[in-house]
Structures are given as C-alpha cells and as structure tokens.
C-alpha cells in the first residue's frame, strides 16, 4: 500500500509562497517549513498480519515576526487560500506574544553541508509483502530462540520517507530528503512461576539495513534472562549500564545541555561551562552529520547548517547547544540545533544525535572491574523520576547481579538513585562497542561502568 501524493507539492516553491503570504499580511520577517512524509507500518501477531498502514502527511508551518514579537501558524490546506490562512494565523499569533529583543530569523545559514546516505532506496523498493515478511521474521526468530518464549505481544515494522523545504525572508533556502525505518518486538517469556517481557529493536535508513533475526533474538534474550528475578538487597555499589540504559540517561544529559533550559535556569548544568562535570572516561558529542544517526540532516529546523559539537571532553563541559534565539541571548553562534518534529511544531533547541565515545574495555572487562554490583538492562520512569532542574533522580530498574566480576542472577523491582553530575563524575569506564539506540532521542553509546550508585531493593 502506498498513499504517496502527487510529486512536486512540497518544495522550496511552496515554502517561498508561504513566506510571501506572511509578509503580505503584516509580518516584518517570516520563515516557512514545508514537510511531507510517506510512511508504512506492519504489525504482526501470532504469525498473521494484525494491521497494515499506509499514510501520507504534508503541511506547512510559518514563523512570523512583527518587530520583536514572534508567532507560529500551521496547517494542511496547501491551496492559495489555505496558505494565506496559515500565514494569517502566524501573524495573529505574533500580535499576542510579548516583545522579546532576541527574537528574529537566522541571518545566515552557513554553507549547506554535503550529506550522503540519508536516503536508502530499499524503503521505496521493498513492496508491502516484503516488509510483512520482515516483521514476521522478527516474531518467529524470538519464538524459535528459546522454548520459554511463549508469545510475542507485538512485532512492528515502520518506515518513513521525508522531504523538507525551508525558506525565509532573510534569504535562507534549503531542502533535503531522508528515509528511516525501525522494527521492534516485545517478547513474553515464562518460567519458574514468573512472566517477563523483553524488547528487541533495530533501526536503519531502510529495511535492507535491518537484521530481523537479531532483533527477535534480542527480545527473547532480554525476556528469558529475567526469569526468576528477585529483589536485590539495598546498598551502594558499582553499576554497569547496558547501551539502552546508558542512552536513556544520555538523552537526559542532552536536554540539560540545551541552552534554552540553561538560560531559563532549568538545567543542572546551568552556570557550569568549563567546569569539571564528568570523569575523563565520559566523552560526549552532538553530531548532526553522522550518516548512521537518524537525526542527521544537512540543515536544522530553521535552515542552519548541522555540525559536530563537543559537549563534554576531558571531563569538562565545553558548550551548550544553541539555536538562533538562544545564541543571540548570549552573543554566541547557533550550533545548528534548532529541532522540529515536522510542520506542526515550531523550532526549539534539542540535541541531534548524541554520541558517547567508546572506550577500550570489553564487556567482560567492565564486569571484572565492577566486581560486585548490578548490570542494569532496563530503567523505567525516567521522565517522572528525574528532577530536570536539580538532576536528582530515582528510577525503577531491572537487570542482573554482578558477582566476582561475572553476571549472576536476575534482579527486578528496585530503584537506582543519584544525581546526573555525580553519576557522570563516577563514570569509571566506557565499553569498546557502541550501539545506536532510539531512546532519549538518537543516541550512540557503549556500556558504561559507574563506580558507585544507590540501589534500593529490599
């Protein structure tokens, strides 16, 4: 199935017309973002197709400035009248906003970088039947992996082809295309009177880049290894984060380095530029250009060139992430981190791809160094459990005990607690093998060994 609309609807021409429409109804400056996405999804259950979805979305969002007031309007009606109404909404919104001396469109984009590999032809080439086969293979691989896997509550494949055009009255103009896909499943395992779930996932630019057997095996492995889990004793001990857990925390750190949160006093890293906030083992970059990163693009959400930015190096906080507005507030330059999730949202500061530098330690070596502690394979409640202002957190966790440097019995229903900066300073080592994880944004990270953390069980 495919609901791709007629070619040529979304592009620079449309964006430019929206900019002109906003200027015509009173905007001093304007910017338009035109976006289009064609998506497919297959959900399978019990060896049969549960649902198949084909969809197309397209729309325009306009930012309008009147002096130092800014407003946003968006819509799906792309007729000349519809564009006029979207422009009028943006201008009307700007009239309600208070003045803000730093508001204004980007003045220069920088050179648009060449970025190959954002689109994978297999997204367009694989027919529906083949993506269904892929989803079924994910499910069956989990069921075959271990007899204790009793069911797969859901196996899903999704892909998207996107096209974006951005234009402004200050002369910005750029467009690009990208594709992405993912597959995941939730496996159910039973044994020893307990029931456990396990998530397996993979992501790529196109279906040819996914390994369905590996995704299924991961879900099966995560579910079965938790069978028989009990509550650990409360104590303070070393913990090792697997890459999914590390990524979730890195995502929180990515939010804390956003200049918007910093300037508004809502970040535990506010006022700490240049300070030691981590151990030297923890090195973090924002990289909007790495082709494997799903968040990569030549331009950010307001048309500024993406780039690679060192955030934490040699233990020190090097910079915050900026868009045009936050950069003006402190006389800095945009780092190309204006993010937007399509035409319905206005740009705001956000990390692109967060990349934690791998270290040299193999997994066994990390466990040996931890000696006695907990290997954490899942955390829950991160959104509610982290105080975004102070960085203090207490989150639910599950995983395996580490005893004498080796993985031992599974544990669950406990919490781990610390604060973000204490945790970063306690990073003792990073593993050698990194993985891309879609939690906490788009994150590439290895396992992390944290020297000490409070574990609350029984």
């Amino acid at each position: 199935m495919n609901t791709r609309p007629a070619e040529g609807a979304i592009g620079l021409d449309l964006a430019s017309r929206a900019v002109e429409a906003a200027v015509a109804v009173g905007a001093g400056a304007a910017e338009a973002y035109a976006g289009e996405a064609t998506t497919r999804e297959a959900r399978v259950y019990g060896g049969a197709v549960e649902s198949l979805t084909a969809a197309s979305q397209r729309g325009v969002g306009v930012r309008a400035w009147i002096g130092t007031r800014v407003g946003y309007g968006f819509g799906t009606d792309l007729s000349p009248d519809g564009i006029g109404e979207i422009a009028a909404r943006a201008v009307g919104a700007a009239r309600v906003a208070d003045e803000d001396e730093f508001a204004g469109p980007p003045e220069s984009a920088g050179k648009m970088p060449e970025l190959a590999g954002l689109s994978d032809p297999s997204v367009g080439e694989w027919p529906t039947a083949r993506i269904v086969e892929l989803a079924l293979a994910v499910e069956s691989s989990a069921l075959k992996a271990d007899p204790r896997v009793v069911a797969v509550s859901q196996a899903v494949y999704f892909d998207s082809s996107d096209r974006v055009a951005i234009a402004s009255s200050t002369g910005m103009a750029g467009e690009f295309e990208a594709s992405s896909c993912y597959a995941y499943l939730q496996a159910l395992a039973e044994g020893e009177g307990s029931r456990e779930t396990g998530l397996g996932f993979g992501l790529a630019r196109g279906p040819a880049g996914l390994d369905p057997a590996a995704i299924g095996r991961e879900g099966a492995g995560r579910a079965t290894e938790m069978i028989g889990a009990s509550k650990p004793d409360s104590r303070s001990c070393p913990v090792v984060f697997d890459p999914t857990v590390a990524a979730s925390f890195v995502g929180v750190i990515g939010g804390a380095v956003g200049a918007d949160a910093v300037q508004r006093g809502r970040s535990p890293l506010a006022g700490r530029l240049g300070e030691e906030v981590a151990s030297e083992a923890f090195v973090l970059h924002d990289d909007g250009l790495v082709p494997e990163g799903i968040a990569s693009s030549p331009l950010d959400g307001e048309g500024v060139a993406r780039r690679r930015t060192a955030l934490i190096e040699t233990g020190r906080l090097k910079t915050y992430l900026h868009d045009t507005y936050t950069a003006r507030r402190e006389g800095a330059s945009s780092t190309g981190n204006a993010d937007r999730r399509g035409y319905r949202t206005q740009p705001s500061v956000s990390a692109s791809n967060l990349v934690v530098a791998p270290g040299s330690a193999g997994f066994e070596e990390l466990l040996r160094d931890a000696r006695d502690g907990v290997y954490i394979t899942d955390v829950t409640g991160l959104h509610s459990g982290v105080n975004p202002v102070s960085g203090v957190f207490s989150v639910g966790a599950s995983g395996r005990l580490i005893r004498d440097g080796e993985l031992a019995e599974p544990v669950r229903e406990f919490t781990i607690a610390s604060d973000l900066v204490s945790m970063l300073r306690a990073v003792q080592a990073a593993g050698a093998a990194s993985r891309w994880v879609p939690f906490g944004g788009s994150v590439s990270t290895p396992c992390l060994l944290i020297a000490e953390m409070a574990v609350s069980g029984s």
């Binding site: 649902s51 198949l52 197309s56 939730q186 409360s234 409640g381 959104h383 459990g385 919490t415």
Partner: protein, 462 residues
C-alpha cells in the same frame, strides 16, 4: 450533527470502494482539528501557536487483519485514493455495505467557545497565573504556565450503516514552578482542564499556579525519602493515576486478548478488597476524558470495572468486542485521523469509599504519604510498575511529619491493588495525557485518598 466534514454521498462512496475487494468491515473517519496554545515563561508571553489540520483515515478489516490508510486534507479524490489503497491489499470479492443512516449525537455542551474569546484575554490569563505563582514567595525562581484550546470535529461512517459525528472542545491550563534556595531546586506542577469552554476559567484559575508554587516551596524543606516496605497513603485526584496505570491498562481488551495482561481470564475473580469499586466513565459532563461518542462512533458509557473487589469488565473497542462476542464499551479511541482506534480509558476512577483521609493516616505508625506523581510506567504483561512521587511526606505516629524528595513507588499491580485497605470519602478528578502505542489521548483520573497496606518505597535514604 450541525457540521458534517464529508457529505453522506462521499462517505458512502469511500466505504463502498474500501470494500471493493472484500473485507468484513470498512470505515472512514474524517476530522478537522484546530487549536491555539501559548506559554508564559520569564514573565513573557511566548510560543503563541495556532493551527488547523484536516484529514481522514480509512480502514478495512478482513480475516482478522486491519488495513489502514490516512491522508492529510479532505479532498474527495484523496479519500477515494486512500480507500483504493486499502482495498488493493485484499484479494476477495466485493462486499456490499449497508446504506448509511445518520445517527443523532448530542456533543458535550460548551458555554463559551474559546475561539470566540480574544487571544489577549488568554494572554492576560497567563499573566494572572504568573503573578499568582510568583506571589507565593521570594524563593519562587521560575514560573512557567501554559494555555491550550483544541477543537476536534469528527465524522464517522462505516459499512454497518452508521453515520455519526461529534464536536469536541477542550481547554487546559498548567503551571510549573521552580523554587530555589542556594544549590537546591524543587519543582511543583498543577493543571486544570476539561471538555469545556473558556467558562472553565471563571472561578479562580490562578489557584493552580499558587498551588504549584506552594508545592515547590514545601519541597525546599524536604529531606531524604524513606526506603523499604511500608503503608502508603495515596492522595486524591491525580493520585488516581496509580489505579489508571497499574490496573486500568491491564483491563484494556487488546492487552487482555493477547494474554499480555495480569487480568486476562480473571473476570469475576476477586482482585481487590470488598471496599473497592472502580469505573471508567466517558460521559461525565465536562470532564477532560469525556466525549459523546468514541472514535468509532459508539456512544460512550459508564462501565463498572471492579465491583466490591471483583473484576467485572474489560474495556473494549469494536474489533476486540467482536472477538469476545460482547458489545463495545465505547472505548475505541484514537489520537487523530492518523491513528487506528484501540481500547483506551476515558475517565477512570476509584469510587468514593467511607474512610476519611485523617483516619487512614492516623492509623499508620510509620509510612509514606504520596500526594502527587510525576508520572509512572507499568508493564501490563507482568504487572510491574514504577511511579515517581513528585510530592510526598513521611507519616510517623499517625501524623504527616515532613516532606520527602526523590521517592519512587515500585511494585506489582496485583499485590498493590489487593493491598488497598482504605478508600476515602473525599473525591475529585484531575486531567492527564495518556500515551499508549505512540498515541496520546486526554484522560481523567480520580479517587479520594486511598491507603495501600504495604508497598515498596524506593527512597534516597539507605
């Protein structure tokens, strides 16, 4: 219905085309969404955003598989193309739909349409929230408040001959305060919303900002949270999110039918003590989670979920109801025309009991009082859950003694539900946004104070 987004002729053509290659059921869901949101932060009104979207989703169900296509815009050609797409995935002979019959619906009444209120008044409302919050004390370092209004006009037509629609208007304000003392920073949040018009804000809307600020200020004095198993008294209103997460999701029939719920196969069994009864009610007038019909056109209803401790019903959409041979409970909801309907809660609550909050706290020697949660997560298949407590206190000798920070409630829902040994006679509802399968819908949660006899508190104290 005063507004039909697509006329009956087009709806009939789309449904017929969707069934042109077979299938047992076809439906078109058309929607117009419009809204306005704005924020005040650093005492400045900003992020003013206004949008309007139209689109439709077409689905066909055949041999247990759902085929779904959605398009932006309501151009008849696009709708028919979407219908052809779903039909193209089937290989059978044409199925004849029933002739459409318009069904009358009475949308929830709206006194003062928000779009008729000048935007400047909404900005003034935010300034009032800002002043009220900051007025609570000099340690209130930041106050951010938001205003949102949204209208969803929907038309549903299906091959059973149903043609119906709804016109839904919701408004909501929220306040988020940060209080600082030296290196310490604490936060507090409050919301007020409903399936209502601007009249919702007639009665002291600034109180929510003051409340958020007071919570943040109180927590400045908070010490470490206790750790271990102990009695937990849960606050009313948003405290109901605990029941929503730990039990409500497990009653949604999609989880149940896949065996991915700890409540599967347990209808009629005792799951709680006799003092506990609970409902899902999509008809509560003006409540945040209410609608006249669900997103499949089924009238919403009041469903008894737990009657005196016994499990009495699951929550159904059309597809899952048919599988179980029961009528839909009107819980087939979708975030928008871009999503498939799935069983979702509307307004879910524990019915008022007979205990007073004072008495249930007075009986606790040492325990924890969880007034409000930052959110939570549950795995419906295992029943394991975790909740972050945003406002909590220690109970010692039957009295609430001091605020605690950083507490988390961890447990398994079967044990926790069975351990509820007191239900309060004080009752109120709060608004929430519930996420499931990537879809976010407005839900109401409610209860009076509730006491859980024993539960694990994951604190910051070792």
């Amino acid at each position: 219905m005063s507004t039909e987004l697509i006329d009956a002729g087009l709806a009939a053509r789309v449904v017929a085309r969707a069934l042109s290659a077979g299938g047992e059921f076809a439906e078109v869901f058309a929607e117009r969404r419009s809204g306005l949101t704005m924020t005040i932060d650093e005492s400045r009104v900003e992020s003013v955003q206004s949008g309007a979207e139209e689109g439709a989703g077409v689905r066909v169900i055949g041999d247990g598989t759902t085929y779904f296509a959605h398009v932006d815009g309501l151009d008849p050609d696009d709708l028919e193309r979407a219908a052809s797409e779903v039909a193209g995935a089937l290989r059978g002979a044409h199925t004849e739909p029933r002739a459409l019959q318009a069904a009358a619906v009475s949308p929830q009444p709206i006194e003062q349409r928000p779009e008729d209120v000048p935007a400047e008044r909404k900005a003034a409302l935010l300034r009032e929230l800002d002043e009220r919050g900051r007025g609570e004390g000099g340690e209130v370092a930041q106050l951010r408040a938001s205003y949102g209004e949204a209208r969803r006009e929907v038309t549903v037509a299906n091959s059973d001959g149903l043609l119906t629609g709804d016109d839904r208007t919701r408004v909501r304000i929220g306040a988020h305060a940060v209080a600082r003392r030296g290196e310490r920073a604490e936060t507090g949040s409050e919301t007020l919303g409903g399936h209502r018009g601007f009249e919702l804000f007639d009665d002291d809307p600034g109180a929510i900002a003051a409340g958020a600020a007071r919570t943040a200020l109180t927590l400045l004095d908070a010490g470490a949270a206790p750790t271990g198993s102990m009695p937990v008294v849960v606050g009313g209103g948003f405290g109901g999110v605990l029941f929503h997460e730990m039990t409500g999701h497990g009653l949604e029939a999609d989880h149940v039918q896949k065996g991915a719920s700890v409540y599967a196969g347990r209808l009629g069994e005792t799951v709680a003590q006799p003092l506990l009864s609970a409902y899902d009610d999509g008809r509560l007038p003006g409540e945040w989670g209410s609608d006249a019909i669900d997103d499949e056109g089924t009238a919403t209803q009041k469903t008894l979920l737990i009657e005196d401790g016994r499990l009495s019903s699951y929550l159904y959409d059309r597809l899952r109801a048919e599988r179980d041979g029961v009528p839909s409970t009107g819980n087939g909801r979708r975030e928008s025309f871009r999503h498939l309907p799935i069983p979702r809660m509307t307004n879910t609550y524990i019915a008022p009991g007979e205990d007073t909050p004072q008495a249930m706290i007075g009986e606790v020697k040492r325990g924890f009082y969880a007034v409000s949660f930052g959110g939570g997560q549950v795995d419906p298949a295992t029943g394991d859950f975790v909740f972050g407590v945003s406002e909590g206190y220690l109970i010692e000798g039957g009295k609430v003694t001091r605020p605690c920070r950083g507490a988390t409630l961890v447990g398994n829902c079967r044990d926790a539900l069975a351990a509820i040994d007191a239900v309060g006679d004080d009752f109120w509802m709060k608004t929430g946004i519930c996420g499931k399968g990537g879809q976010h819908v407005p839900v109401g949660t409610g209860q009076g104070h509730v006491r859980i006899g024993s539960m694990t508190v994951g604190g910051t104290e070792l």
